[in-house]
């Protein structure tokens, strides 16, 4: 069923993909090719099909039309792509640490190394002393961070993140953004990242795609030409190009939404 991976193929290749849930057309015909090591940020109105696109890439849905390839092969859940869902989806029968531990176990980390790695991963998302807690004994933002830590435990070449920082305060969010930006730049992992924050999009992305709403199509596809390493966040945000990108993308988001609105009011 799954075709063999082709070397040199783009990390993600989406060809003429459409997705329909029963009667609902969720994602319009879409072509998209994500190069290896790229950091693609998806922006679009609520309900435009961002999560659907991630699910297609992760292999949890098969497109109603067109085809999706990850590293040249048909995507299979859990193989080749890590996914942070929009909701935390922690297992309630495991402790917080147990949830991360499980991911390490799937990744083949030997048992004796896991406790230390769990601590380290939780620390990385800013969580201390919660490893022994039950999943319902931590706050919403903390749950989301556990889900991120869990996804980071698995060293997949492709990482899909669905609004991972939505429930976080500004500071924590900035730290994790920094961390993620560094990781992607240094490890060369490909990322597809969904967000509603234009600032986040410009800060993180090496490329930003804005989707129109229902069914989602590409309204804007812009490469972000800003330095990705060796620069402080504040410095980066201070660059003149940064503001320009923000303005352009912010504008595109609004235009895409208005467009959809107009189409709807015409119908």
């Amino acid at each position: 069923m799954s075709s063999p991976a082709e070397p040199g193929a783009p990390a993600v290749q989406v060809d003429g993909v459409e997705h329909r849930y029963a009667a609902v057309s969720a994602l319009g015909p879409l072509d998209l090719s994500v190069a290896e090591g790229a950091f693609l940020v998806l922006v679009g109105a609520s309900g435009c099909g961002k999560s659907t696109l991630l699910r297609l890439i992760a292999g949890f849905e098969r497109p109603s039309a067109g085809r999706v390839r990850v590293a040249g092969a048909e995507p299979v859940p859990g193989r080749g792509a890590g996914l942070v869902f929009q909701a935390p989806r922690l297992l309630p029968w495991k402790t917080v640490g147990g949830n991360v531990d499980l991911a390490l176990r799937y990744a083949g980390v030997p048992r004796e190394q896991r406790p230390a790695r769990v601590e380290q991963l939780l620390d990385r998302v800013g969580l201390h002393d919660v490893a022994g807690r039950r999943t319902w004994e931590i706050s919403g933002g903390q749950q989301q961070r556990v889900a991120i830590a869990r996804a980071l435990a698995v060293p997949n070449p492709l990482l899909l993140l669905d609004e991972p920082f939505a429930a976080l305060d500004a500071l924590t969010r900035e730290r994790l953004q920094e961390d993620l930006r560094r990781v992607s730049a240094e490890s060369g992992r490909t990322c597809v990242f969904v967000t509603h924050s234009v600032d986040e999009a410009v800060y993180l992305g090496s490329r930003v795609v804005v989707l129109t709403s229902r069914p989602g199509r590409i309204a804007l596809d812009r490469d972000i030409d800003l330095p990705r390493t060796g620069i402080e966040p504040d410095e980066l945000r201070g660059l003149p190009g940064y503001a320009a990108y923000r303005a352009e993308i912010g504008h595109a988001v609004r235009a895409a939404a208005d467009e959809s609105e107009r189409v709807r009011s015409l119908v």
Binding site: A58, F60, P77, G78, R79, A81, G82, L83, F85, A87, R89, L90, L91, P92, W93, L102, A103, Y106, A107, R134, T135, W136, R150, A151, A153, V154, N156
Partner: protein, 279 residues
């Protein structure tokens, strides 16, 4: 009127459900028990027909008689009450264990593997509709008249609740969580182990508790054949001689030991499933 749904509204804080709660609970039970006892005594006195309702005193007398050696007769049919009960409990426990294990296996396979379900589901449904009394004679032909047919009967009685509950819960595993571990790289069987089974655990436990209860209530049927010693054999024997007081005594022995086993199961359940209702 304290609705337990309240526990959902105001989670008990630690130290909240302490001694007082415990005392009230048992107090309530004691009162209920006393009320029942008085009701029983009154009915027995009014009816005044020991075959109809033996008096508590008569049953108590039987308890003493069947638990001791008197006039050179040992207990009932040559065995003390506790021996009858012990033999039956052993059968019930072994039978339940086999039935529960089998039920779990069948249930997981049925819930998780499509084609197994297609074939097995009707078979299980068919078998669980069959009355043990109807097919028990076949067991004798196949397994003789000693322990084997009894254990088979009890196992077959205990299997369906576990199998049905497990299959139903397994096939309704929370999609969101199965996807979550699949995204982390879990194989199908790892997903079953780490998500499907834990999420089914509460229902499985209900199935197990029902299974043990059903094994219990099948003990008389199982012991229709060569059932002495055995509490079921004792009851049957007493029944045929219309010794209603012995029958009632046997019912108490069965009911109370069943209560004890269920209590153990419930403690295990609470230990094992702290997340119940939490998602």
């Amino acid at each position: 009127m304290n609705v337990v749904a309240e526990s959902a509204v105001r989670p008990a804080r630690p130290g909240n459900a302490g001694r007082g709660e415990w005392g009230r609970r048992w107090g309530l039970r004691l009162v209920a028990l006393l009320a029942l006892g008085v009701l029983w005594q009154v009915t027995a006195t009014v009816m005044h027909n020991p075959a109809f309702i033996p008096s508590p005193g008569a049953v108590w007398h039987r308890l003493v008689q069947t638990s001791t050696t008197h006039d050179g007769v040992r207990g009932y049919s040559g065995h003390l009450l506790i021996e009858h009960l012990g033999v039956s409990l052993r059968r019930i426990l072994i039978g339940s264990a086999i039935g529960v294990t089998g039920g779990l296996l069948v249930g997981v396979l049925m819930g998780a593997v499509g084609w197994v379900r297609v074939v097995t589901e009707p078979v299980v449904t068919f078998v669980r509709a069959l009355p043990p009394l109807a097919y028990f004679s076949l067991f004798i032909i196949w397994f003789g008249i000693d322990e084997t047919p009894k254990l088979w009967l009890l196992s077959i009685a205990a299997l369906p609740p576990v199998a049905v509950a497990t299959a139903s819960a397994v096939s309704a595993a929370p999609t969101a969580l199965v996807e979550a571990v699949r995204a982390l790289g879990a194989s199908r069987w790892a997903a079953i182990r780490d998500v499907v089974l834990p999420s089914a655990l509460p229902e499985i436990f209900t199935g197990i508790r029902l299974a043990v209860g059903i094994a219990y209530s099948s003990v008389v049927a199982a012991e229709t054949i060569n059932g002495v010693p055995g509490i079921g054999g004792m009851v049957r024997d007493a029944q045929r001689y219309s010794q209603t007081d012995v029958v009632v005594l046997g019912l108490f022995a069965i009911g109370l030991s069943g209560l004890a086993i269920d209590a153990v199961l419930r403690v295990i359940e609470q230990r094992l499933i702290p997340w119940r209702g939490k998602y």
